[in-house]
Amino acid sequence: MIIMTRKLVAENWRLEKARYALVGNFCKKCLGYHFPKKQLCLRCKTSEHLEEYKFKHEGKLLEWTKIYDPAKGFDFAGPYYYCIVELEEGIKITTQLKYVTDEGRLKYGMKVKLVFRRLFSHGNEGLNTYGFKAVPVY
């Protein structure tokens, strides 16, 4: 049985803006993007030039793999595809890739959209975690 700890509630909550709305930040000095949101620009070592930035729900498919033996809690979803998506701003994210009925149609660099889905349910009584998943655009 999956038990949701209080620590996990706070952890999930901290990532909400990133998972729900792709909120990260942009540094006006070095013109770099950060995702999820950082307290300091990793290059400039200051928060002075950081502003909140919402990434577009689009990107390109960099890599993918098929998971035949899902982790605990994802049993129902298996087998499923997992992928690396490069957002338009250059940030790379990992996420599940939906609706792959024919792997032959997947192409490196093809466009993907990010949709809003339930990522995980913490048992019957815990919280649901929501966020983005990728869908190929053929």
Binding site: V23, D75, F116, R117, R118, N128, Y130
Partner: protein, 361 residues
């Protein structure tokens, strides 16, 4: 009292979302040794939509809300933040909220970026919770408490295996942003008809709803739908001929046609709203998805009637007049048919898995 002049209120953005998966009535009938073709003919439904394994009322609401927002910001992303900062209320109407306690509306608010200065709540009134939310939003906009408000009707409807409801209980959502600037369709008025008529219910902790069979017809669906529609016509001093398009609640493909017939509404005025035949009954979303499809196809100047029905029971009727704005705005987000046509069929076994009918422990 505000001295500001009361402006026209209307829809500034609308959006729908329908899950990709479908199961045919025939496939369900095979499982229960029913006559599929006869069942499809009786219900006038051939397929119904089925949520994905990771879809629920919250995810569908978010997707519909994003589509509504895309139309509301008129294709200009910079207006998005401005509109969101003025979005003062979100109401999500559904009878299948994922949580008994914890609002779906807050996740929608967070996901579209409208939080934190806004009010939000989940609403339940069987299949008319979405239009009840719409009324709340209209009230707040009209009283000038908020500039914009979002009302969503969404459901991942439950049907007991083997029950007649299983053939129609679908999934989908529709979202409407109401405001006073750049409106797509102007609200002319609304009228509700409500009584305690127990035709369909689900008790706390019950997995599936119960219904009273034929009692869901005449004393329930028809009495409330017809009364609300007639009441609206009288209130606005209009006749049914003044309307170019209508959308009624669609529990099956027969009831709305019969209701239109009894109101002497030509089938052509109803036809474009009948999504039920391909996606089933989307409960709180049903009349709103039908209305959205009418907006997808409407010409400026056309008058549209929408009348919901929620078991228990009540109907909310609204009259809207489409403006010139519809032309430039309707293609800023996927239209209803984009979702209806983008489909993948499921077997009954996969359907059972999708709807959580297979218990792992």
């Amino acid at each position: 009292m505000s001295s500001k002049e009361i402006k026209d209120i209307g829809i500034v953005g609308y959006g729908v979302y329908i899950p990709k998966y479908r199961i045919s009535v025939d496939e369900i009938a095979k499982m229960w040794h029913d006559n599929g073709p006869m069942m499809a003919k009786t219900l006038n439904v051939t397929e119904k939509s089925v949520p994905d394994l990771d879809e629920d009322t919250i995810t569908i609401s978010v997707m519909a809300a994003r589509n509504a927002l895309a139309r509301a910001d008129r294709g200009d992303n910079t207006k998005n933040n401005e509109l969101l900062s003025k979005l003062g209320a979100i109401y999500v109407g559904s009878e299948s909220h994922p949580y008994a306690v914890k609002p779906s509306a807050v996740t929608v608010g967070e996901a579209i970026g409208a939080t934190p200065v806004m009010t939000a709540a989940d609403i339940e009134f069987a299949c008319k919770a979405g239009t009840a939310g719409l009324q709340n939003v209209i009230g707040l906009v009209k009283s000038q408490e908020i500039e914009y408000g979002l009302a969503i009707g969404t459901d991942c409807a439950q049907g007991r295996p083997g029950d007649q409801l299983e053939y129609t209980a679908g999934a989908g959502g529709a979202a409407f942003i109401m405001g006073t600037e750049n409106i797509i369709a102007k609200l002319e008025g609304m009228y509700s008809f409500t009584t305690d008529t127990p035709d369909f219910w689900r008790r706390e902790h019950a997995r599936y709803p119960s219904h009273a069979g034929r009692f869901t017809g005449q004393p329930s669906y028809f009495r409330h739908t017809l009364s609300a529609t007639k009441g609206l016509l009288e209130k606005l001093d209009l006749s049914i001929d003044d309307f170019d398009r209508v959308s009624f609640h669609q529990p099956n493909g027969r009831f709305p046609i019969a209701a239109a017939k009894r109101l002497s509404i030509p089938y052509e005025k109803l036809e474009d709203s009948l999504c039920v035949t391909k996606i089933g009954n989307t409960y709180s979303a049903a009349s709103m998805v039908g209305f959205a499809r009418q907006l997808d196809m409407a010409e400026p100047g056309e008058r549209i009637l929408i009348c919901s029905y929620g078991s228990g029971a009540g109907s909310d009727a609204f009259s809207f007049v489409v403006t010139e704005e519809i032309i430039s705005r309707r293609n800023l987000a996927p239209v209803t048919d984009d979702y209806i046509e983008d489909k993948a069929m499921l077997s009954y076994a996969h359907y059972a898995k999708h709807r959580g009918k297979i218990m792992m422990s």
